[in-house]
């Protein structure tokens, strides 16, 4: 008993209540272990192997990681994903902040507005991408047709045919799809600001712009950090929008990291190499999560 205690092992025997506790959480533990922790360990292990889809894997040490260092496609995918993140995050944030300001008041119909701005969030990214892929189409798409009818363009535009306009098109689609989500996050932050701050400011003659600048924005610093980091994390994992809208083209210029991992693993069947890239992606996201937790830390502690 004393040895067990000194080793900090659980005190034995367990009480009935403790055993019941283990029994209740056991199914969750089993699922998380079998379908998450084990595959996670396998990803790590696979990244040190040459691993074909069929046939025997063989140990390769750091070979996959060394290949990765010299793989231009991977670095360009990483750079493209970063660029996409840097463009889409502020865009979503700005639109969402405006939307949140609009729907942050108790007026008639505001519930309808909120619902409408949020609705695209619950549509799947694949479905949304296919929908916009259709609207962006130069033959049957609505955008080119309307612009031509208005006389703004002379012939249909290949929105997705050129890298920069493809990126811009995807950003527009993602704005539509994701702004509502950030809007709600910001709205929650706005509504947590004590109303008497605004009343006091009004007493002092602060105008709306000043109230926004000196009360709303400073009081929402943590909410801003949350919204921005969530959006960065989501953008680094972007896949469907590129897979559907551009298929990585033109000339592989819009391949995101997840798309490239998918391709390496399931088009070229280099599973070990895909695993090595997954590990890199995982590390990037862990760093982002740590940054998020740092920014959101409770300053009172």
């Amino acid at each position: 008993m004393s040895i067990a205690a000194s080793l900090r092992l659980p005190r034995l025997p367990l009480s009935r209540r403790e055993r019941a506790g283990y029994a209740f959480v056991l199914p969750c533990v089993v699922f998380t272990t079998v379908f998450f922790l084990v595959p996670l360990a396998m990803t790590l292990w696979m990244s040190f192997n040459h691993w074909p889809l069929l046939g025997k894997p063989n140990f390769a040490g750091l070979a996959n990681y060394l290949d990765l260092l010299h793989d231009e496609s991977f670095w360009s995918a990483l750079w493209f994903t970063t660029r996409y993140t840097l463009v889409v995050t502020p865009a979503i944030f700005l639109l969402a902040f405006i939307l949140a300001l609009l729907v942050h008041r108790a007026v008639r119909f505001v519930g309808i507005f909120r619902t409408a701005y949020f609705l695209p969030v619950v549509i799947g990214m694949t479905t949304a991408s296919l929908l916009w892929w259709w609207m962006f189409n130069d033959q049957v798409g609505i955008f080119s047709a309307v612009l031509m009818d208005l006389g703004l363009i002379d012939e249909p535009v290949q929105w997705l045919g050129e890298t920069n306009s493809a990126l811009a098109s995807i950003v527009v689609m993602v704005l539509w799809k994701a702004a509502g989500f950030t809007m709600v996050i910001l709205l929650v932050g706005m509504q947590a600001i004590p109303q008497d701050l605004y009343e006091a400011a009004r007493m002092d003659g602060a105008r709306w712009l000043q109230q926004t600048r000196f009360i709303t924005i400073p009081m929402m610093r943590r909410t801003f950090a949350l919204a921005l980091t969530m959006s960065v994390i989501g953008s680094y994992l972007a896949f469907e929008q590129f897979f559907v809208l551009t298929k990585g083209g033109p000339m592989n210029s819009t391949i995101s990291v997840v798309h490239w991992i998918y391709r390496a693993s399931f088009t070229y069947f280099k599973l070990g190499y895909g695993a090595a890239m997954s590990v890199v992606l995982l590390l990037i996201l862990l760093v982002l999560s740590v940054v998020q937790m740092y920014l959101l830390r409770d300053e009172s502690e």
Binding site: P10, R17, E18, A20, G21, F24, V25, P27, C28, F31, T32, F35, F36, L37, V38, P39, L40, T43, M46, I98, L99, L102, V107, A116, Y117, P120, V122, I123, G124, M125, T126, T127, L130, L131, W132, W134, M135, Q139, G141, M148, W176, G180, F181, V184, I185, R207, W208, L209, L237, F239, V258, I261, Y262, L271, G274, S278, L282, L285, S289, L296
Partner: protein
């Protein structure tokens, strides 16, 4: 006097977004000699113009696709597109019924996987959430943190091993296998949600039932469960949207076309038949895949938003 007002608001709308201008015009400060009521009406009108315009923009793609799905196939494929159909038709839905293994097959696949995921997630998260909330046992906090920490690891990075693992478990290319994987992805949020829900139930409620001789399981099912219903609805909704809309895992884990879920089937329809895309069929498919999500959200949005808030507060 009204000239000054117009210039003033023009200046604003150049430097700040229209929304801000609207709210500015609406703010209650007596700067202009224009009557308060006139100013409020002006600002109010501008506010509603902006909000309604945005509403139309946000709803347009969904409405346009749904509308086009009722065009005749020929008009749905017309180039340039037809703004107003000569007549309505359900032919696109008929074609969809015969596409590949038939839309009913894909609908069944998606529904089966989704409902199984929702059910499993709720059962596991109820048990787990209750366990973490009401019982003390060695390692409790560590186990809880590990389950939550899986949220920080992108599931995209473990799909290849899952593919191999399902093969070993003889669950490869099965709807059950996919549902088990989805359940695991949904667990951390659901357990978190349910633990919070159980935490919010006063201990006395449960203690009374235990004193009456209930086992913990009976107490959970008869006394506690009805009290955490909102948490269950929220966790269930997230599991629904997550699995109904998921593409990448389904793409990797499902090989046989007859096991495809709706998103994978739609992706196949995108590549078209001999290079020609059946646009009307695509819109019918898109509409069908949006419909359950939109309906569930409209009916239960309070619970969904509560989930977002809980997640935001946690972070």
């Amino acid at each position: 006097m009204s000239d000054i007002v117009t210039n003033e608001s023009l200046a604003y709308s150049e430097s700040v977004p229209a929304a801000t201008a609207a709210a500015l015009a609406h703010s209650a400060r007596a700067r202009f000699t224009l009557s308060r009521r006139a100013r409020d009406t002006l600002g109010g009108t501008l506010y509603y113009v902006v909000c309604v315009a945005l509403t139309l923009i946000f709803l347009f793609p969904i409405a346009w696709s749904a509308f086009t799905s009722f065009y005749t196939p020929a008009e749905a494929m017309a180039s340039p597109p037809v703004y107003w159909p000569s007549r309505l038709s359900v032919q696109n839905y008929r074609s969809l019924a015969e596409y590949g293994h038939g839309i009913w097959r894909y609908l069944w696949n998606s529904s089966a996987v989704t409902l199984l995921t929702v059910a499993l997630t709720l059962v596991l998260a109820t048990l787990g959430g209750y366990g973490f909330s009401r019982f003390r046992f060695p390692g409790r906090n560590i186990i809880f943190v590990v389950i939550l920490a899986t949220l920080m690891i992108p599931f995209q990075s473990i799909l290849t091993p899952l593919f191999i693992l399902l093969r070993i478990l003889h669950l490869q290319d099965t709807l059950i296998g996919l549902a088990l994987v989805y359940t695991t992805f949904q667990l951390p949020f659901a357990v978190f949600m349910l633990r919070n829900a159980f935490d919010a139930v006063p201990r006395e409620v449960e203690e009374a039932s235990l004193l009456d001789g209930c086992t913990p399981m009976r107490s959970l099912l008869l006394v506690m469960l009805p009290l955490v219903k909102p948490g269950l609805v929220t966790a269930g909704l997230f599991a629904f949207f997550g699995s109904w809309n998921e593409l990448l895992a389904a793409l990797i884990l499902m090989g046989d076309a007859k096991n495809f879920t709706l998103p994978v089937m739609l992706l196949n329809a995108q590549s078209g038949h001999m290079g020609a895309v059946n646009w009307g069929l695509m819109q019918a498919g898109i509409t069908i895949s949006i419909l359950p999500c939109a309906l569930l959200f409209l009916l239960l949005q309070r619970y969904y938003i509560n989930g977002l808030i809980a997640g935001a507060v946690k972070a």
